[in-house]
Symmetry: C2
Subunit: 390 residues, 2 copies
């Protein structure tokens, strides 16, 4: 599988930046989602009218700087859904990256190219962003470890914002050890030796996934329970996963439109119809809608604080099904998109860290199991991933 076949790097000269000679990530190379600044290289944002509206950055994003200083080297910038607005990874401007694990299917997005190059073995790990699922969903669809850190834990400077109250930067890797090593650098702490003691199984989320997915994930849940210790079944969202989804959609869409409105107005950019339509319809959201959604967000956060004291983690299917086929119509994908968001909304809504563990296969395509901890327990989740992947 050549780089060109993947269609995962952005067009044009390949961005390559050597890391520091010595450091904890020496010998590792990584790719950078094209929403994240690398000094001296344009940040394309997955849209032909984004780059021309923004100067070439003169400094690295914080996260890029940390990784280069730790010895990892950049091998390229990767495709993304337009300005992060998409969950499937289909982009008609730069092309849709290949899902190496399921070539007839979408890679997932918006960190589509990052997932593609890591899954293909082109580099050791890759950076993505995750506002509403953009690291977790492609990790599930391509069969990778992937983390959405606690909201606000990693400095977001030098990265294209979408919805600031949900935006995070994360990473993906094939190998659990590499995955954890990157975390030690970015989180600034060693991966703890002690593991959580209790695993909650989110019954409502497993029930919401396709039965084949719940069945395929069951052995992973068993294995996780053995690693952690106690297992308990729980309802994640008493108000309903779809109610949480609505709240997150309202808040994220409102913030997205606010973020992009000046660009839309000034440049009238070319966009996929579906992306433009969602932005346009976000303009109809009212203050009443936003207030109602913000109250539900408080309820969701309270629920997670109740469920996840220190030492307790929760698991759920990362996506309700494996990756859909490439090239489906907007209407064919409308309901699947909403279903994906019902499981993925948790991260953006509550700010809790979430890690996708690869391992299950349905209809020949990967699907992942997510573990979630209380805010700030990123390292504990990496420790579980390391134990799980060993």
């Amino acid at each position: 599988m050549t780089d060109d076949t993947l269609n995962a790097f952005v067009p044009g000269p390949r961005c390559q930046v050597a890391g520091a000679l010595k450091g904890p990530l020496s010998g590792l190379d990584f790719a950078v989602k094209d929403l994240i600044d690398v000094a001296g290289w344009p940040t394309g944002g997955g849209n032909p009218d984004w780059e021309r509206a923004h100067p070439v950055p003169s400094t690295h994003a914080w996260v890029v700087e940390q990784l280069l200083s730790a010895g990892a080297s950049i091998i390229g910038k990767t495709a993304t859904d337009e300005v992060s607005l998409g969950i499937l990874g289909e982009n008609p401007f730069t092309g849709t990256p290949l899902n190496p694990a399921a070539p007839e299917r979408v890679p997932g997005g918006s960190s589509s190219g990052s997932a593609s190059v890591v899954a293909a073995g082109v580099c050791d790990f890759a950076l993505g962003t995750d506002t509403g699922g953009s690291v977790r969903v492609p990790s599930s669809f391509c069969g990778l470890y992937g983390i959405r850190p606690t909201h606000g834990r990693l400095d977001f400077s030098g990265i294209c914002a979408q919805a600031p109250s949900s935006d995070t930067v994360g990473w993906m890797a094939r190998d659990a050890a590499v995955f954890a090593r990157v975390g030690q650098v970015l989180l600034g702490e060693p991966t703890p030796a002690a593991l959580p003691h209790t695993l909650l199984v989110a019954l409502d989320a497993f029930g919401f996934a396709d039965p084949a997915v719940a069945m395929a994930l069951a052995p992973m849940v068993e294995r996780l329970a053995r690693i952690v210790g106690t297992r308990r079944d729980e309802t994640l969202a008493p108000q309903g996963l779809s109610v949480w989804k609505d709240a997150q959609r309202t808040l994220q869409s409102s913030e997205s439109l606010k973020t992009f409105a000046p660009w839309l107005d000034r440049f009238n950019p070319r966009m996929q119809y579906g992306v433009a339509r969602n932005l346009a319809l976000a303009g109809l959201i009212t203050d009443t809608d936003r207030t109602r959604a913000a109250l539900m967000r408080e309820e969701a956060r309270a629920r997670l604080r109740l469920l996840l004291p220190p030492g307790v983690i929760l698991c759920l299917p990362t996506t309700p099904f494996p990756a859909p086929s490439r090239g489906l119509s907007i209407s064919d994908l409308a309901f699947p998109r909403e279903r994906i968001t019902c499981l993925a909304c948790l991260g953006g809504l509550t700010g809790s860290p979430q890690v996708n563990l690869p391992g299950a296969v349905v209809d020949g395509a990967p699907v992942g199991l997510s573990i979630v901890g209380g805010r700030g327990t990123d390292n504990a989740l990496l420790a579980v991933a390391l134990a799980f992947g060993s």
Copy 2:
């Protein structure tokens, strides 16, 4: 001024088709808006995802067939706003054609390339379509004769539809004699020798235009009155030009979305944000809105039947100002667009024929005077244009 400088022809090999050896239009050449089929040439529609969704036509549009049979030859296909949805002529995919009469300003649209090549003298005349002003507005902005025929008078087969109850195909020319000759072929009647006897001056429309435009058009109105005979001041739209505009916007937007919805859904095409947004918001129009608009359309039609018995024509400014500058923001153009539509809505709403007469200049840029007749009086308007242009 070279063809390349104009940026008015569609990219790729130039469509050239010789007309019949002998015929009433022998020796004339013309350009074809890229929404109109020429057999063997793709119909691009001004959007990169339109062409791939539609087969190369195997037959000419009716109007193209008539002109070729009459001896005129095609010299190229011309740029258009995306799938006819635009009034200014700015297109980021194929580029915005030059307005040869005012190079710093937009050419007007959606028949932008057709207006550009005729104004530059590259060919004798050009075909356009006019649903909400797409022949009349670029004719005004580029200083050309241009006609929107009576709705339904010319066969529309082989042309990309937008809003069928308003869609028409028309043409533009620099020279009044050429303009009338084309009409004889397409309308199938000689230009009459007798002229209308009464000219109505639409006071509300002149009042609605910029004062500088009304002033610049005054000598043209005087000249027209001398040619026709009697002159009388009248109110065109007792309910309000903006009320007529709202009705036309509601009906046209609803029909546009219905026309394009299958394509949007299946291909999720790349579009300018502003175009996509308008389509998306059209989905919010209710049956009640449509009924109200259809009733106002009946009132507007009744008004024109009352005002325009045989022998009476009406004049108004074609546009309320000359062409705006190129490259303005969506919000800068929002109100100007609505103002343009207040004067242009008449054609689509009532189906009456309308001809733009060039001749006035404001701030160094052209602006035109429109004449309107009752349904079916296309030839009488051409006779007036011929008398006016001689």
